[in-house]
């Protein structure tokens, strides 16, 4: 009924009347004018549409786009996963081979080795990023002098392209000229040429964890910071009145209230790192040997180097189901935590 309100009339210093209409009233009037200007038949037709229909009209283009670029390829990949199809042999007959691709993948030691490498990478990066990210967020939230400047500095790695990060860390890790090797050498006394971060089977998995942690901890920090800032001050004030110690406040207020945000950050980083490709590919290419060959690198090799399209489709479906399933379970836990 706001549109029916009469505009308030005031006078300007010269005494002329000035209409001080509210914004919503102007919009309502404009809408009415638009309806009046619309030909009767169309207006009737538009008015005849239900809200649900209008909603469908608005989301239809998005749904169509999603169907075309997400759902259709997914269904096609599922179909291909039951065949021996190879994209590099267009003239060869495509045979249906049932669950053969799935059984080969699940019984393949190399696939499990890739899954282990992925799990090692995902678990350690999440652990380190959450710990360091939350700690940084906690410190930044103290609002010390220059905290805005340091926040910006901390965020820089996250703003870089993974390709750039991969390339320059490759140089940093270089045992003959790399800064990283020299710093470690300076601290430990080990000659830099013996610090083979990308060539050593023991060190290479940690080399990629270090880079990913360096790059994405700021992201976790940002989410945690949002969580910390969302905690109302009066809760802490009440705790102060109750003479709760800082330690007690942290465990009873800060951590539980920031937990949904931390879990959200873990979910995002978990999904992202499960499909990590670019940075690992640039840093180690999966080597030395197959030490850092995470699932996405194996998948790329099967799909675009060996051209086993059917096989790689099955592998992609298995990965999709694994991520989707784990993410769903996680989201349910997250919702339970939020509702507490």
């Amino acid at each position: 009924m706001r549109g029916a309100e009469t505009p308030e009339t005031m006078q300007d210093p010269s005494g002329k009347p000035v209409v001080t209409d509210t914004t919503s009233t102007i919009l309502d009037r404009a809408a009415e004018a638009a309806v009046r200007a619309t030909p009767d038949s169309l207006a009737t037709r538009v008015r005849g549409l239900s809200d649900k229909t209008v909603a469908w009209i608005f989301i239809a283009p998005t749904i169509l786009l999603l169907l075309a670029i997400n759902i259709f390829p997914l269904i096609w990949a599922i179909q291909l996963s039951f065949t021996n199809y190879r994209a590099n042999r267009p003239n060869e007959a495509v045979k249906n081979i049932g669950l053969s691709n799935y059984s080969r993948i699940l019984n393949d030691a190399d696939t499990w080795a890739a899954m282990q490498a992925t799990a090692h990478f995902v678990l350690w990066t999440i652990l380190l990023q959450t710990l360091i990210g939350f700690t940084l967020a906690y410190l930044i939230d103290r609002k010390f002098r220059g905290h805005a400047f340091w926040t910006t500095i901390i965020l820089v790695p996250m703003m870089l392209s993974p390709a750039v990060v991969g390339n320059f860390w490759r140089f940093l890790y270089e045992p003959q000229i790399g800064l990283f090797a020299y710093v470690i050498s300076f601290v430990t006394g080990i000659p830099p040429t013996e610090i083979l971060m990308l060539s050593s089977v023991k060190l290479a998995p940690w080399a990629i964890i270090i880079v990913d942690t360096w790059m994405w901890t700021p992201y976790v920090m940002l989410i945690c910071l949002a969580g910390l800032r969302s905690i109302p001050d009066y809760i802490y004030e009440a705790a102060e009145v109750d003479r709760a110690s800082n330690w007690r406040q942290f465990w009873s207020i800060t951590l539980p209230m920031a937990l949904p945000f931390i879990m959200l950050a873990v979910l995002f980083r978990g999904i992202e790192n499960f499909k990590m490709f670019d940075m690992v590919n640039l840093l180690t290419g999966g080597g030395p040997g197959s030490t850092t060959e995470v699932a996405s690198i194996t998948l790329k090799r099967e799909a675009f180097e060996k051209w086993r399209t059917g096989f790689s489709s099955a592998f992609a479906i298995i990965l999709f189901v694994a991520v989707f399933g784990l993410a769903n379970i996680y989201v349910k836990v997250l919702n339970r935590v939020k509702s507490r």
């Binding site: 590099n88 042999r89 040429t193 590919n281």
Partner: protein, 443 residues
């Protein structure tokens, strides 16, 4: 008035004709696809003559080696029209012939009088024939290449180095005749200080992603007695791929990697090798011959400082080398096949091949490489000829990519990551390759 009209009509006709011709030549512009490397620049220069002679413009699509196979095999598999001509890797020939990517050139060669016997035999088998050793030609040998070695001639010539080497090994420091000698030299130089700088023994192929470690390992294994399969029973690999001799060869390669490469050289291929040699890090350098003109010209390590030698012999005196190089083919999806064939005809002529060599392209035409002046034409020319005489190539089957990826994994796992034994690596390779051939229905 009449003459003015005639002149006007003439001008109009000339203008129309020139416009039409421009349109026609644009329609016939050819796109040639190849790797982005020094020889490609030489080909751009060479192709200007083709455009001048025929009026057909040339465009080039060059992709770095690391993405070369991915990019162009994708293009061919999707029946793309980007490339009219392609200089594809030698191992692509089986797949490209069987999947219809390349135009078969037999009739064209017969019609134009191009004889395959005019080209170096190994390059015809390696780059043009499918099935191998049959007269079915899918490309014209375009760029001969082979793995060989460069060494620091100036370091070898230093009296104090020579004396130290003789004292340690009881022989003169010279170009190695066997792989065992090569390792001695690499060990000798490893961590040695020369001109106030620490240097290393050898740069060898260890790259994991594309084909590097396989090219390096195979280059050594052939001379140790490795065979792909039973000569009397194709695809029967047990006891050939994983023979005792092959195991010894693989163990040798690992020992060379462990003892004598620069720190961190665990993912080294052509580019990294060039960098290691040019920056004065290594005494010996394994690489394809295409790198030699650039190294020869290099200001800091070229000229008299660099020497070249073909693969040394294995324990039984056998000498083989890994074939590189490519042939030039007409893409069957091209709309400009006639013009593309015209380019191949032009490229096959002796004068063009001579100029190709002079610009840095490694010609495969016998008239060029068997010319009496050839050996003296460049410091590396004789090594190139010696190496081309002992080449062997990796599988060129349609499944070469799967076969290559299997060997990349097995070799890198053993040589660089040190996992398992050489015997286990080669046994595993036999199992992987057998599975590939079973999938293909060849076993």
């Amino acid at each position: 008035m009449k003459s003015t009209l005639k002149v006007s009509l003439g001008l109009a006709a000339g203008l129309a004709a020139s416009t039409a011709m421009t349109g026609a030549s644009k329609a016939e512009d050819l796109t040639l696809c190849w790797a982005a490397w020094d020889p490609a620049n030489a080909l751009v220069e060479l192709s200007k003559d083709f455009t001048a002679q025929t009026g057909i413009g040339m465009k080039f699509e060059f992709v770095p080696w690391t993405n070369y196979a991915d990019r162009f095999l994708n293009e061919l598999n999707s029946k793309g029209k980007l490339c009219d001509l392609i200089i594809g890797d030698s191992q692509w020939i089986g797949g490209s012939a069987e999947n219809g990517h390349y135009v078969k050139l037999n009739d064209f060669f017969d019609k134009e009088g191009i004889k395959m016997s005019d080209f170096v035999d190994a390059t015809v088998v390696g780059y043009s024939e499918w099935p191998k050793n049959t007269p079915n030609y899918w490309s014209l040998p375009a760029f001969g290449d082979v793995v060989g070695w460069t060494y620091r001639k100036d370091w070898f010539a230093k009296p104090e180095i020579q004396a130290a080497f003789k004292e340690k090994y009881g022989r003169d420091l010279a170009v190695p005749a066997t792989f065992a000698e090569l390792k001695d030299i690499a060990e000798f130089f490893q961590n040695r200080e020369i001109d106030g700088k620490k240097v290393y023994g050898a740069s060898i192929y260890t790259e994991r992603g594309s084909e590097g470690v396989t090219m390096g390992v195979m280059d050594v294994l052939y001379s140790y007695g490795f065979k792909y399969d039973n000569p009397d029973k194709p695809y029967d690999m047990e006891g050939f791929v994983n023979s005792d001799k092959s195991v010894a060869g693989l163990e040798f390669y690992k020992s060379l990697y462990d003892c004598c490469t620069p720190p961190g050289a665990s993912n080294s291929y052509m580019g990294e090798g060039i960098d290691a040699f040019k920056s004065g890090q290594v005494a010996l350098h394994m690489n394809f011959a295409f790198t030699w003109p650039g190294l020869q010209k290099d200001e800091s390590v070229g000229g008299d400082k660099v020497g070249f030698f073909a693969n040394p012999a294995g324990p039984d005196g056998e000498k083989f080398a890994q074939l590189g190089g490519q042939g030039i083919s007409v893409v069957s999806y091209s709309d400009n096949q006639d013009a593309a064939l015209q380019y191949i005809k032009w490229f096959a002529t002796t004068d063009v091949q001579k100029k190709w060599w002079s610009l840095g392209g490694f010609s495969c035409l016998k008239a060029v490489v068997e010319d009496p002046t050839f050996e003296a034409s460049q410091p590396y020319a004789k090594t190139f000829l010696d190496s081309m005489a002992i080449v062997k190539d990796f599988w060129a089957e349609p499944s070469y990519a799967s076969l290559l990826q299997a060997s990349q994994k097995r070799f890198h796992d053993y040589v660089v990551a040190g996992q398992g034994t050489a015997k286990e690596a080669l046994d595993g390779l036999v199992a992987d390759w057998t599975e590939v051939f079973k999938d293909d229905g060849k076993i």
